[in-house]
C-alpha cells in the first residue's frame, strides 16, 4: 500500500514518542505507529481535499443512546427516528454519550471500548445513524472500568494489561495531586500474588490508565481508528487533563498530556484530517483553552464558562460580567473553535464564576437553583468547609419562573439563542431541545446528576411534542426553527468574526461577520424581564450605516421601528441585518 505520510509529520511524531517514552524506544515505537497507518481502512484519500472542519450548518445534539425508549425497539433506532422526525435540518451531528458496555458513571466506566452495549443496539444501528448525521463519540481515555478485560489481566499479571494501570509506590509524592473528587486517590486492590493500590481519579470503579506504558497509547490509538472506521467525525477526549501522572506534580495538564494530544492530532492529520478532536477539561478558562495548544492540539474545546455565566446573567438580568468575559475571550488559534453548550449530562460547573463574581453571587445562584428544585454538588476546600462546584438542574428549570411560566420559557429560549449565536459550534443537550423538567425521581433513585438524565418514553414524548399548546413542543419548534435559520447565515460560521458591543447592563449585543465580510449580523438580546427600547440609529451604525430595512433574521421579518425605537420584549433576541432588497 502506498502510504502518504509527510516526512516532516512523521519526524514530528517520532520526536513526540521520544519525549513521551524515551529515545531508546523510539525506533520500535515509530515502526509500530507506521504500521497502524491505514488500519481498518482509515487512510486519507490522496484524491480528495479534506473537507472544511466546520461551517455555520454545524450543530450538535448531545444525547444518551437510550434517551428515547420503547419496549421491543432498540433505543438507537428510536433515537434516529426522533432525530429524523423532530430535528432534521436543525442538527447535523449527534454526540452519542458513551454507548459501550460500562459499569458505572453513566457509561464513563467503560468495560469494552469496541462493543455497543446490547441494551442500546448494535454497531449497525450506530452506523445507520451515521448515514444521516455526523457522529461524535467519547474516547474515555483517562480510566476504564474495574470490570474491563484490561483490569482482569492486570490482576492476573498478564501482559500487556499487567502494565495498564498505575501503582504508585511509597516513594511517589502525591501530596500535590489536584483532586476533582472527595474520595481517596488510591484504591487498594488484590492481585494474584500481592496486594497493591491503584490510581483512581474519579471512583474506585474507574481505574486510571497508565499512559507511561506505550501499549496503552497504542491500544487507544487503535480504538480511535476503530471509532473513525465506525463513523466518528468528532472524538471527545474525556477527562483528558488528568491523563499523565508524575510523582511530585499536580498530575493535571502535564506537558506529557499535551504531547499525547499533539500526537493524536498528528495521527489524525495523517490518516483522517477531517476528524475533529474535542477536549473535555472542565477547569478554569485559561487552563481549558490551553488545550488548543498552538493550534496543534484540540480542534475544539468545550466552552465551560458559558453555562454558568449565561445563567448568572439571565437570572441577575445583568450582562456586565458575561459581556466582559465574552469581550475578553480573545481569538482562538487557526482551525480551532469552541463547542458552545449550556447543558450536558453533567451539571453546570460554577468554578468558572470564581474570580469573576463574588462568592455571595455564587451562593445566590445556589439558592436560585435549590428554589427551582435543583441540587448542588459541594467540594471540600482547604482549611475545612465546603463550596459549591456544580449545579444539578435542567437548564430549562434553572431559568424557570415559578410565578410566570411563559417568562421562564422565554428566558430559556433566550439562553439557547445566545449560545447558538456565539462564535463556535453550538451543541444542545437533548433535554434542552424538548424542555425537560427536573427528574426528581431519577435523582432520588440514582445520583445527583440523574436529575438531568431522564430517559423519555417514546410514546409519552411523542404525544407531548405532537401537541402545539405545551411548552415542550413550543421549545422544540422554536429551537429547530432557529438552528435551521442559523445554518443559512455565513455570519454564523464558527470562524466568523465576533465583536462584542458595549451596551446597557440588561442588553447583550455582539456582531458576527461572515468570513467574506458579505454578511453582518447584529445579535442583540434583552436579558431583562422588562421591555427595552432599541435605538434605530445605534443599530444602523453597527450595521455599517445600513440605510434600508433592518430585518430580524430570527423571525425572518422586517423590524418596524417606531419613532426610531423598537420595543424589545422581555428576553427577546434579535439577529439584525440590513436588508439586501432594494
Amino acid at each position: 500500500m502506498l502510504k502518504l505520510v509527510r516526512r516532516s509529520t512523521f519526524q514530528r511524531m517520532r520526536r513526540r514518542l521520544a519525549r513521551l517514552y524515551g529515545p531508546e524506544r523510539v525506533d520500535q515505537l515509530a515502526d509500530r505507529l507506521y504500521a497502524m497507518i491505514g488500519r481498518y481502512g482509515v487512510v486519507a484519500d490522496p484524491n480528495n481535499n479534506p473537507k472544511e472542519l466546520w461551517d455555520e450548518r454545524d450543530a450538535v445534539l448531545i444525547t444518551y443512546a437510550d434517551m428515547v425508549q420503547k419496549k421491543g425497539e432498540r433505543p438507537l433506532v428510536s433515537l434516529k427516528e426522533f432525530c429524523d422526525r423532530r430535528l432534521r435540518g436543525a442538527i447535523n451531528t449527534v454526540h452519542l454519550l458513551p454507548f459501550c458496555p460500562a459499569s458505572s458513571d453513566g457509561g464513563f466506566s467503560v468495560i469494552d471500548y469496541r462493543e455497543v452495549a446490547p441494551e442500546h443496539g448494535t454497531w449497525r444501528d450506530v452506523q445507520t445513524l451515521g448515514q444521516d448525521y455526523e457522529l461524535m463519540f467519547d474516547l474515555v481515555l483517562n480510566h476504564c472500568s474495574r470490570k474491563s478485560a484490561y483490569f482482569k489481566d492486570f490482576i492476573n499479571g498478564v501482559l500487556p494489561g499487567a502494565d495498564f494501570f498505575i501503582e504508585p509506590g511509597e516513594d511517589w509524592d502525591i501530596s500535590k495531586v489536584v483532586r476533582p473528587r472527595p474520595w481517596p486517590l488510591l484504591t487498594p486492590i488484590k492481585r494474584v500474588d500481592s496486594e497493591t493500590k491503584v490510581w483512581t481519579t474519579f471512583s474506585d470503579d474507574q481505574i486510571d490508565l497508565n499512559w507511561a506504558c506505550p501499549d496503552v497509547l497504542f491500544e487507544f490509538l487503535d480504538i480511535l481508528l476503530f471509532y473513525i472506521a465506525k463513523g466518528a467525525r468528532i472524538v471527545r477526549l474525556d477527562a483528558v487533563a488528568f491523563l499523565w501522572k508524575e510523582p511530585g506534580t499536580e498530575c493535571i495538564h502535564l506537558p506529557q498530556t499535551h504531547e499525547v494530544i499533539k500526537l493524536i492530532r498528528d495521527v489524525l492529520q495523517t490518516v483522517a484530517p477531517e476528524v475533529i478532536i474535542l477536549t473535555e477539561t472542565n477547569v478554569p478558562h485559561q487552563e481549558n483553552i490551553s488545550y488548543f495548544g498552538r493550534g496543534d492540539e484540540a480542534h475544539m474545546v468545550y466552552n465551560f464558562s458559558l453555562p454558568p455565566l449565561l445563567l448568572h446573567a439571565l437570572l441577575k438580568e445583568d450582562t456586565r460580567v458575561f459581556g466582559d468575559w465574552l469581550a475578553g475571550l480573545g481569538e482562538t488559534p487557526a482551525k480551532c473553535t469552541y463547542l458552545n453548550f449550556t447543558a450536558s449530562h453533567d451539571g453546570i460547573g460554577v468554578r468558572p464564576l470564581q474570580g469573576l463574581v463574588p462568592d455571595e453571587e455564587i451562593d445566590w445562584l445556589v439558592t436560585q437553583t435549590r428554589e427551582r428544585g435543583g441540587l448542588v454538588g459541594m467540594r471540600s476546600i482547604e482549611g475545612g468547609g465546603e463550596r459549591p462546584y456544580e449545579l444539578n438542574i435542567t437548564y430549562r428549570d434553572a431559568l424557570d419562573d415559578s410565578q410566570d411560566s411563559r417568562k421562564g420559557v422565554a428566558r430559556f429560549l433566550c439562553s439557547q439563542t445566545v449560545a447558538m449565536s456565539l462564535k463556535g459550534v453550538p451543541a444542545l443537550y437533548f433535554h434542552s431541545f424538548v424542555g425537560t423538567h427536573n427528574d426528581q425521581e431519577g435523582a432520588a433513585a440514582g445520583e445527583r446528576r440523574d436529575i438531568n438524565r431522564k430517559r423519555w418514553n417514546k410514546s409519552e414524548l411523542g404525544e407531548l411534542l405532537d401537541q402545539t399548546d405545551n411548552d415542550h413542543s413550543v421549545i422544540l419548534n422554536v429551537l429547530v426553527s432557529l438552528l435551521t435559520r442559523r445554518g443559512s447565515h455565513p455570519a454564523f460560521h464558527p470562524d466568523a468574526r465576533q465583536i462584542v458591543l458595549e451596551t446597557d447592563r440588561q442588553i447583550l449585543a455582539f456582531l458576527r461577520e461572515s468570513l467574506d465580510r458579505q454578511e453582518r449580523i447584529l445579535c442583540l438580546f434583552n436579558f431583562s424581564s422588562e421591555p427595552y427600547p432599541i435605538d434605530e440609529t445605534w443599530v444602523r451604525e453597527r450595521l455599517h450605516g445600513a440605510a434600508g430595512d433592518i430585518r430580524n433574521m430570527l423571525l425572518g421579518s422586517r423590524m418596524e421601528f417606531q419613532d426610531g425605537r423598537y420595543q424589545a420584549s422581555p428576553f427577546q433576541g434579535f439577529w439584525m441585518a440590513a436588508s439586501k432588497e432594494k
Binding site: 500500500m1 520500535q28 515502526d31 509500530r32 507506521y34 504500521a35 491505514g38 488500519r39 481498518y40 481502512g41 469496541r114 489481566d153 490482576i155 492476573n156 499479571g157 498478564v158 501482559l159 500487556p160 499487567a162 488484590k190 494474584v192 500474588d193 501499549d215 497504542f218 491500544e219 487503535d222 476503530f226
Partner: protein, 415 residues
C-alpha cells in the same frame, strides 16, 4: 552445549493447551541446561526473559478485523492484503528485536505456523526464518485442515506458504500420528511424533486446607457422586453424552459438574445442554464462575479454585469428546488416578488406546453397558484402584517427562 531457546507463539498465558505444553518443553530444555525466552502477544512469563508484542496476539483487534475478512469468503480485497502485509512487516521487526535482545540460538514455534488464527504472524515468522535460517523446531498442535471453520477462505496462498512453512532450517513435531500422516501428505515433509506429556514422575496434589471445602461450596453433599467434565462447553466435547450417562445411572446422588463455560464460542450449545439436563432430570452444574487459573478471591470475596482443586474431589471423569488433538484432560485424569469414561475419538483410537489403558469406553453413543460399567467401578474400590493404577503406570511410561526428554534431544540433535 547450552543454547538460548526462543519460544514464539501468539499467546503464552493461562492454561490453554499450547501454553501448558510449551511450559513442559521449556522445563525439559531447562533441565538440559538451556535458557528459555518467550515471545508472544499475551504473556504471563517473567519480564526479564520475555517480550510481549500485543499485535502478535490472535485476539488483537486488527488481527480480528483481518480474520473477519478472510474466513468464510473466497476473495479478499487489496486493502486486506495490505493490512496482512503491514502487520506482518511490523511483527517481523519485533521478531528481529527478540532474537537480537536475547541472543536466541534456536526458535521453537508453538502452533503459530500450524493453526492460522493469526495469518500475519505466520507470514512474519516464515519470512523471518527464511531470511535468517535460524534453526527452528515447529511444535504443531492442530492444523487448519483439522478445523472446518478454516476450509472456506480467501488466504489459500498464505496457508500454502506458512501453515506450516517447510524451510530447510525447520524441524516439525506433531502430537499425534494422524497429523504426522497429513503433514507428510499435504506438505511432503517429515515430522517427529512428540505426544503431549504430564509430570507423572511427581505426585499429584490432593485435598488441602484451601480446596477442602470445594464440594460444600458448590452445594454437593457428602454422599453425592461427583462426576467431573473438565472441559469448556463446546460441541466437540460431546457433553450431551455425559448427560446421557448420568441419566442412565439413575442415581440422584450423581451430580455432573462442568468446570468451564462456553468461552468465546457462543452460548447456544450450553443452553441446549442446560435444557437437555433439565429434561433428562439430572443435576448438572456449571461451576465456571468459581474456576480460575490461579487460587484467588473473586469480586464478591468468594474463593476461586483451579481445575486441580477439582480433580481430587471427583469420583469419575467424563471425556466423551468427538474430536481432540490429543486429550490433555485424559492425561490429567490418569495423573489424579480417576476412572474415566471416554468416547473413542480418532486420535485416541490411533495413538492412545493401543497402549493398553483401562477405561470405560463408548463408541459414539452411551450404552447401558457403559453405564453399568461406570456403576461397577464406582462401587468396587479394588477394581477402581486397579484400573487407575494401571493407567497411571502406562501414562508414566508413555507420556511422562522422560519420554519427552528423549524425543526432544533427538530433535535438537537433528538441527
Amino acid at each position: 552445549m547450552a543454547k538460548n531457546i526462543g519460544f514464539i507463539s501468539t499467546r503464552f498465558a493461562g492454561t490453554d493447551g499450547v501454553s501448558l505444553e510449551a511450559d513442559k518443553w521449556a522445563r525439559v530444555f531447562g533441565e538440559d541446561g538451556h535458557q528459555n525466552f518467550w515471545y508472544s502477544g499475551r504473556s504471563d512469563r517473567a519480564r526479564d526473559i520475555s517480550m510481549c508484542v500485543p499485535e502478535a496476539f490472535f485476539g488483537h483487534p486488527e488481527n480480528l478485523w483481518i480474520n473477519e475478512h478472510i474466513w468464510g469468503v473466497t476473495q479478499r480485497s487489496g486493502m486486506v492484503t495490505d493490512r496482512i502485509q503491514e502487520l506482518a512487516w511490523y511483527i517481523e521487526t519485533t521478531l528481529r528485536r527478540f532474537v537480537r535482545t536475547f541472543e536466541i540460538d534456536i526458535i521453537v514455534v508453538e502452533n503459530a505456523l500450524t493453526i492460522p488464527m493469526h495469518v500475519p504472524l505466520g507470514v512474519a515468522l516464515t519470512q523471518f526464518l527464511a531470511e535468517t535460517s535460524l534453526p527452528t523446531v515447529c511444535h504443531h498442535h492442530d492444523f487448519y485442515w483439522e478445523r472446518t471453520r478454516f476450509s472456506v477462505n480467501a488466504v489459500r496462498d498464505y496457508l500454502d506458504m506458512c501453515f506450516p512453512s517447510t524451510l530447510p532450517n525447520m524441524r516439525h513435531t506433531v502430537i499425534n500420528q494422524a497429523a504426522q500422516e497429513q503433514l507428510a501428505l499435504r506438505k511432503g515433509t517429515s515430522s517427529v511424533l512428540v505426544p503431549n506429556v504430564f509430570a507423572f514422575e511427581e505426585d499429584p496434589p490432593g485435598i488441602d486446607d484451601y480446596n477442602a471445602d470445594f464440594r460444600r461450596e458448590i452445594g454437593l453433599a457428602e454422599e453425592d457422586i461427583f462426576i467431573l467434565q473438565p472441559t469448556r462447553i463446546v460441541p466437540r466435547k460431546g457433553i450431551e453424552h455425559a448427560i446421557k450417562l448420568v441419566a442412565l445411572m439413575g442415581d440422584p446422588r450423581c451430580k455432573l459438574i462442568i468446570s468451564h463455560d462456553a468461552g468465546d464460542e457462543g452460548l447456544q450449545y450450553q443452553n441446549e445442554l442446560v435444557d437437555l439436563a433439565r429434561e433428562s432430570g439430572i443435576d448438572m452444574r456449571i461451576v465456571a464462575d468459581r474456576i480460575s487459573e490461579r487460587r484467588q478471591l473473586d469480586g464478591q470475596g468468594r474463593k476461586m479454585y483451579t481445575l486441580w482443586d477439582l480433580y481430587p474431589h471427583a469420583d469419575l471423569v467424563t471425556y466423551p469428546s468427538i474430536y481432540e488433538g490429543f486429550g490433555n484432560a485424559l492425561l490429567e485424569a490418569f495423573y489424579f488416578r480417576k476412572p474415566v469414561l471416554i468416547n473413542r475419538y480418532a486420535i485416541f483410537v490411533q495413538d492412545i488406546e493401543p497402549k493398553g489403558f483401562d477405561l470405560v469406553v463408548m463408541d459414539g453413543y452411551v450404552t447401558r453397558k457403559a453405564a453399568d460399567h461406570v456403576r461397577y467401578i464406582l462401587t468396587h474400590r479394588e477394581a477402581r484402584e486397579r484400573m487407575t493404577e494401571t493407567n497411571y503406570q502406562l501414562a508414566c511410561r508413555y507420556y511422562g517427562y522422560n519420554a519427552l526428554r528423549n524425543r526432544l534431544r533427538s530433535v535438537m540433535d537433528s538441527l
